[in-house]
């Protein structure tokens, strides 16, 4: 079971002070109330947001706690890295803890490039703004021309104690401010700083992967993310980001050779990772350079071992870049695997052809709806198949 909800303690009342209303829903069930999570409407699993609201919708509301999301990278690793950054930024905003492990870039560099959240309802450590008094000078009336009756009402309270909204929006052109980022606790694993021991001959896993799993296990046990840990302190979620796992810098020749010598090392790693996550309050997003892996059977193995799997295919450099059908989009998104947690059948997404577009303030994923006849201008241009209106700004 991904997150056994019955064993964890009562909702912590001390989290609620600065709500705008005093209404508290009376709940009989003992759900874990961790900031930034919500129970799924389909099966009651505890969900966290991936940072991209369209992707949350695609995965059935969010990423279930205790599962792994596999992102197959696009050719130049630009959009998959962006999804990882959204995931980590969402963790910072929701006050979750982060764990970043990388072989190529320093984890500190990855953390410095997180996108800035769009700040309307994100809590930062600023004091509550006083509502504006009515004895303000006259020139403030010119601020609003049409809605001037709302001039003197206080602004929407931005200082919630914990951000109660699920899923935030980020501005890609700005990086997150250091004060916000340093408020979140982050654990790092940089492969070049770990000395390589002699490889054990009988193990199916590489020592780089073993070292990573050991480090993860230590963090989970010491920081209390294990579900079986005692209830002494309040619970939090650990967000694990693993960029470019399986690349040659991890010592794995899966992406180099057609017949890799230790082809099952990565699959064994995923098996161990999933087993560890099932018994802890953690979520993992892993990106794998699948365009370099030639053995499709092994890639299929790895996909089956992860709960959620999507693949990104960017149009950059391919002949599809000039196709007029795709001119509004940056690439295609394929859903390889949907999770079936504690159930027999899973909910498949409605649209099979999905395309994504990275805008400055949003990463949108849209599905294709077929030819539309409503707009005459589009049929004049002769483009076949309008892409549907967007989902999931909801």
């Amino acid at each position: 079971m991904a997150a056994p909800v019955s064993t964890v303690g009562k909702p912590s009342a001390e989290r609620l002070p600065l709500n705008t209303t005093s209404f508290q829903k009376k709940t009989r069930t003992k759900l874990i109330s961790i900031p930034g999570t919500r129970p799924s409407v389909q099966n009651g699993q505890l969900l966290v947001s991936t940072g991209v609201t369209s992707l949350d919708y695609l995965l059935g509301g969010g990423l279930a706690v205790g599962t792994v999301l596999l992102v197959e990278e696009d050719r130049y690793d630009s959009y998959s890295r962006m999804i990882l950054k959204y995931f980590l930024a969402e963790g910072v905003v929701c006050r979750h803890e982060l764990f970043v492990a990388s072989a190529q870039d320093n984890p500190d560099d990855i953390l410095q490039e997180l996108p800035a959240p769009i700040l309307d309802d994100v809590a930062i450590h600023k004091p509550v703004e006083q509502p504006r008094l009515s004895c303000e000078p006259q020139d403030s009336l010119d601020a609003m021309k049409i809605a001037w009756r709302y001039q003197n009402l206080p602004k929407v309270q931005s200082a919630l104690a914990s951000s109660s909204r699920f899923g935030h929006y980020y501005d890609v052109s700005k990086t997150m401010e250091p004060e916000i980022r340093q408020a979140a606790k982050c654990h790092r694993f940089y492969l070049t700083e770990h000395p390589t021991q002699s490889p054990p001959t009988h193990s199916t896993m590489l020592e780089s992967y073993s070292a990573l799993l050991k480090s993860l296990q230590e963090v989970i046990n010491s920081e209390g993310f294990d579900v079986a840990a005692p209830m002494s302190k309040s619970r939090n979620i650990l967000r694990i980001g693993l960029p470019s796992l399986g690349s040659a810098l991890w010592g794995d020749d899966l992406s180099c050779h057609d017949n890799p010598r230790n082809g099952h090392a990565l699959a064994t790693f995923f098996y161990g990772l999933r087993a560890m996550l099932r018994s802890s309050l953690a979520v993992a997003v892993v990106t794998v350079p699948s365009h370099l892996i030639q053995d499709r059977a092994l890639m299929g193995n790895i996909t089956r071992l992860c709960d959620n799997a999507i693949a990104l295919e960017s149009f950059k450099g391919s002949e599809r870049e000039t196709n007029p059908l795709y001119k509004d989009y940056h690439g295609l998104l394929h859903v390889r695997q949907v999770p079936h947690l504690n159930c027999l059948a899973s909910k498949l997404p409605d649209h099979k052809d999905l395309a994504f577009k990275l805008k400055r303030k949003q990463f949108t994923i849209e599905g294709r709806s077929g030819r539309s006849t409503c707009c005459r201008r589009s049929s004049e241009r002769g483009s076949g198949g309008r892409w549907a209106s967007r989902w999931a700004d909801v």
Binding site: Q138, S247, L249, C256
Partner: protein
């Protein structure tokens, strides 16, 4: 973009020249060496495939050629440079031998030779350490794309900041270079140039590839201006715009009235409402006797 790469403006770059059997990239490699020497930089060349005389006719002072051509696998007793010496410690020692204050440029001819004898993950690790360590300013390597499996070529090119793929051009002396450059921010730029190399190893860029011209023509055709052929006027002249802005809208009050309404006097009426049981009228259950 080829000229910018030749000028070597950004430090810490890793350029791979990817060639094939139909078109050799060694001339372009020699142009890169030449450009680096003209910039007064130290150049270290690991030569596996061609000898020193063939690569650079007369010895130049700042060019340090490490002869891996005569005995690359160490079969004799005293090899100068073997392929197994391609690891971080040996290379760092090699690069420290010169006393030049600026970090040098490392040229590898060719990476394919090393990949045949050392495992690709080890080669990738060494290249990664070279870039991060700061021992070299830039690395330029030649890679024969058709000698390796796709995954190997892809993995090595994934580490590079720029990949130049050379292919034979239309005319005899021309070659086409397809360049993919990845900046640190993750942005990817692609370009295509037709170039020739003169005898003194300078690169001359011909006009851009003809396909780029086709791409530019098509978008212009498709954009029709919908306001072009209308029978009514959609634009405003200046006088009309001024008149429009002067018009007083019905519910826009003057400033005095606005302030009067905003600061309501204390004696105005207030509505006090206490919810009554009779007000709780449920449309679907008027008699209030359903047990739901």
């Amino acid at each position: 973009m080829l000229t910018e790469l030749l000028q070597g403006s950004d430090a810490g770059g890793f350029i791979i020249i990817r060639d094939s059997a139909s078109c050799s990239g060694r001339h372009l490699l020699k142009s890169f060496i030449n450009a680096a020497l003209n910039r007064e930089e130290d150049v270290h060349v690991l030569g596996f495939e061609v000898s020193e005389e063939e690569l650079k006719g007369s010895p130049v002072q700042r060019l340090h050629f490490h002869n891996a051509y005569s005995d690359p696998l160490g079969w004799t007793d005293k090899p100068t440079f073997t392929v197994h010496q391609f690891c971080m410690e040996e290379l760092a020692r090699l690069l420290k031998q010169t006393s030049h204050p600026k970090p040098a440029t490392l040229v590898i001819d060719s990476l394919s030779w090393i990949l045949r004898h050392v495992s690709p993950p080890a080669v990738c690790a060494t290249l990664h350490q070279l870039r991060k360590g700061g021992a070299v300013r830039a690395i330029v390597a030649l890679l024969h794309g058709d000698m390796h499996q796709r995954g190997t070529v892809g993995s090595v090119c994934h580490l590079a900041s720029s990949v130049i793929t050379v292919a034979p051009g239309m005319k005899g002396g021309d070659a086409v270079a397809k360049i993919t450059k990845r900046s640190k921010s993750g942005k990817v730029v692609q370009d295509e140039d037709i170039f020739t190399i003169n005898n003194d190893l300078t690169v001359v860029i011909q006009s851009k590839h003809s396909q780029v011209g086709h791409k530019q023509a098509d978008p212009e055709e498709q954009e029709m201006d919908p306001t072009a052929h209308l029978t009514f006027n959609l634009r405003l002249s200046n006088k009309e715009r001024e008149a429009k802005e002067k018009l007083a809208l019905p519910f826009v009050f003057s400033k005095e009235k606005k302030t009067a309404l905003l600061h309501s006097s204390p004696g105005s009426g207030r509505i006090l409402y206490e919810p009554d049981a009779n007000d709780d009228y449920d449309q679907e259950d008027p008699d209030d006797d359903l047990d739901v």
